[in-house]
Amino acid sequence: MSIRIRERTKGGVGESVRRVDGTPKVKGQFLYGSDLWAEDMLWGYTVRSPHPHARIRAVDVTQALTVSGVHAALLASDVPGSKTYGLEVNDQPVLAWERVRYQGEPVAVVAATDLETARRAAERIKVIYEVLPAVTDMEQALRRGAIRVHDHGNVVKHVHIEHGSPKAKAEVWVEGYYETGMQDQAILGPESGMAVPAEDGGIDLYVATQWLHVDQEQVAPCLGLPKEKVRLHLAGVGGAFGSREDVSMHIHACMLALHTRRPVKMVYSREESFFGHVHRHPARLWMRHGATRDGRLVAVHARLVIDGGAYASSSPAVITNASTFAAGPYEVPNAVIDGTAVYTNNPPCGAMRGFGAVQACFAYEAQMDRLAAKLSLDPVELRLRNALATGSVLPTGQVIRGTAPVREVIRRCAAIPLPPEPVERDPITYPGGAGNVSRGERLRRGVGFAVGYKNIAYSTGFDDSAEARVKLFAGGTGPVAEVHSAAAEVGQGVHTVLVQIAREELGIEQVILHPSDTLVGSAGSSSASRQTMMSGGAVQLACRAVRDQLFERVRRWARTRGLALAPQLAIAGTDVVGDGRTIAPVTDFLDEPIVATRVYHHRKTESLDARGQGDAHVLFAFAAQRAVVEVDEELGLARVVQVACVQDVGRALNPQSVHGQIEGGTAQGLGLAVMEEILIKDGRVLNPSFTDYLIPTILDMPPVVSELVEEPEPGVPFGAKGVGEPSTIVGTAAIAAALRNATGRELNRVPVRPDDLVGLEPPRKSAGPPPPVKGAA
């Protein structure tokens, strides 16, 4: 293989290169799913169940079809192929028949000439429901005789992990019970897309999604079409955070388009968006930590129950993740961990940034603080004493082979200077802010610390490979490389990173992106912080193959001329060089473009056995955060003053973008800590709007001081670890710890509410011992 001997390419790896989609985005010209338009297009609209659990007695669409401008009203019986779909379990109806299992479940779809007409027609679809009693409590759902959400029972998945001895003795024990609320991804760009019927009887779907190919795999069977006739194209994505892993309007729009033979666009309203995607699982967690008097962890016993809602979505993977991380980034010789995802008649829950690790971190970090208090040890010191490192064994028996700079992230985070307490201040900086309610009379400052970790890429034996195609051709002003990847750009910047990698590998600056679609192989999902490694790896391999072919052409050319070439060739700017001397312009060898398609696989992993043992995860990323908060003890108002974050990133390929991920991830962690929760009563969502579901504003966000630990991960492209999730995982835990520190209260549930801060609401109590699961070990 040739080794490059040249100056670094401008805009390559390691530079804070500007986003490739930045200019159209600032000009308002970037087309999101909701901005698509086609001649003759119709608007689709979804009729949803108002009940969390009901039998469908009858549906009558005749009145809707009489509305002028209405072109179709379709039901479950109109689904051309498979009536159900699902990411991991094929259990979710395209349109409900016989039974609805959650409020907001789609029952019918309408297409009309404009959205308002479609909405009005939808109101004229008569659905007669027989309301059934619902099971809306995750523990109740596990009890004997509970209402069954599905015929196969209410357990989506149970995970049992046993490590060392379950009866290990410890000198000191602490025990705690914790709850987390249901968080929404609150993507600003709603679910949206447009289906265009094709002449071959197939369909082209332009959609805002995280993984085009897994959508294709679910959409095609439901339409009764072969996969190759269902072509997906990435529309502009207005944020994802897990919410676009599941199918939303995809199949509905395609059905309507195939039925009417016209393009059909669907865009969810904000309210509908709250019903149209899965949320972060609410969790209940029981934990017992045992340690020696000098602060060495001896045992962790954990029981986790998460509410999966009415359909499986990615609950099996989420509970696996939550369970494997339940002991935290610490060496624990003995552990018993049981995790259960349950079905209820609540809205389905699935992927959200952090994917099970968030809930676990909130509980285990509270436990570490409890233990530190009991041992009279500094919380940071306790964490340092138990921190994982390369070579450590996890509760699953997995040995950490890659980098694990846990002590490094802890030490550096603790060393970041604390913000000074201001002498004089603007009233807007008090808790309550612009509400102008506080003058800081009973202000208490608190500091909290948290460490957390998560897997990068998919786990437990799943080969989530990524494909990329790179074409090198002669452009008007020199060689141009075109990268074709199906990796979904959801805002995180993967398209920019892929361009950087192509520049780095090929040594040329002009790199363009082919639109992302299913005409190239799967890139896997833009989730699990995996795309930089996976699609980045695929682009790297494809570029190297292209380069080798180019140099082969150069050598062939040299041989025909009897020229001796340096053993190592390289590309510098627009020229092929050898031994530092220009040989010829690259474009001289590009009469025919060079194309290479390559697939990147991460190392193989194993599924967990019956005792939860297995080499389940590919690699890990760690982060530590320290939060400083102020609480007005009288008003129960809190303000986060500063968040310091140090994250293990392997290597930062675009440092500005990495810091952006840390800051944004921290904001979502803050949201769950102090404000964000989908409130549900008897299976009904009470706050499906941005007026009632609060996300952090610019007034809520403190300065985030972020630093990177760069210890390249061996065996992955450029040593880069994914960076999207760790800050979200630790953010919630660190802020909750700071609030406990400020108030001296237990605060065992997030989001923490004003009533919790002033003690009007006592700590949450477990309704009883954690429910066992039948058949579980």
């Binding site: 986003r19 930045g22 600003l188 760009g189």
Partner: protein
């Protein structure tokens, strides 16, 4: 009903449903999709435009209310390939991720800097409290405002 309004310097007409918002008119009748629809309740600021020089959430203004008035949208800020300094600053500071909130924020920042060329951080935070961003955590947006103020000759 027919609504006549001047959009980005040009008089336009649209035949809208009486309940339609100004945002709907801009997006669906005039094809100006730079202004985004994210909450429909005036909470997120993604649809920010100027109505006769005043910053408004176009989702909260009836199309009919804009009759005979002048509307300026994000599409009016760049002059061909030359970006407005606020747009340039957002790119330079890394203040764009998914970009859905970006047009509304750029309009709101441009409006702020038109009124206050060198705003302090608290002023910026207060002025942008009506613009939700889910991706960035706002840090780089604050950087972008500072940078834009410098580019425009404030401090």
């Amino acid at each position: 009903m027919i609504v006549r309004l001047k959009v980005n310097g040009e008089w336009r007409e649209a035949d809208v449903w009486p309940g339609a918002s100004l945002l709907y008119l801009l997006r669906e009748h005039l094809g100006l999709v730079g202004s985004k629809n994210a909450c429909e309740q005036g909470e997120c600021g993604s649809c920010s435009v100027w109505l006769d020089g005043t910053l408004v959430c176009s989702c909260l203004v009836l199309a009919a209310q804009a009759h005979e008035l002048e509307v300026r949208t994000v599409e009016a800020l760049a002059e061909g390939p030359r970006l407005h300094p606020v747009q340039e600053a957002f790119l330079e500071a890394g203040a764009v991720q998914c970009g859905f909130c970006t047009p509304g924020l750029i309009v709101a920042v441009a409006d702020l800097l038109e009124h206050d060329p060198a705003p302090g951080e608290l002023t910026v935070r207060e002025a942008l409290a009506g613009n939700l961003c889910r991706c960035t955590g706002y840090a780089k947006i604050l950087d972008a405002v500072k940078l834009a103020a410098q580019k425009m000759g404030g401090v």
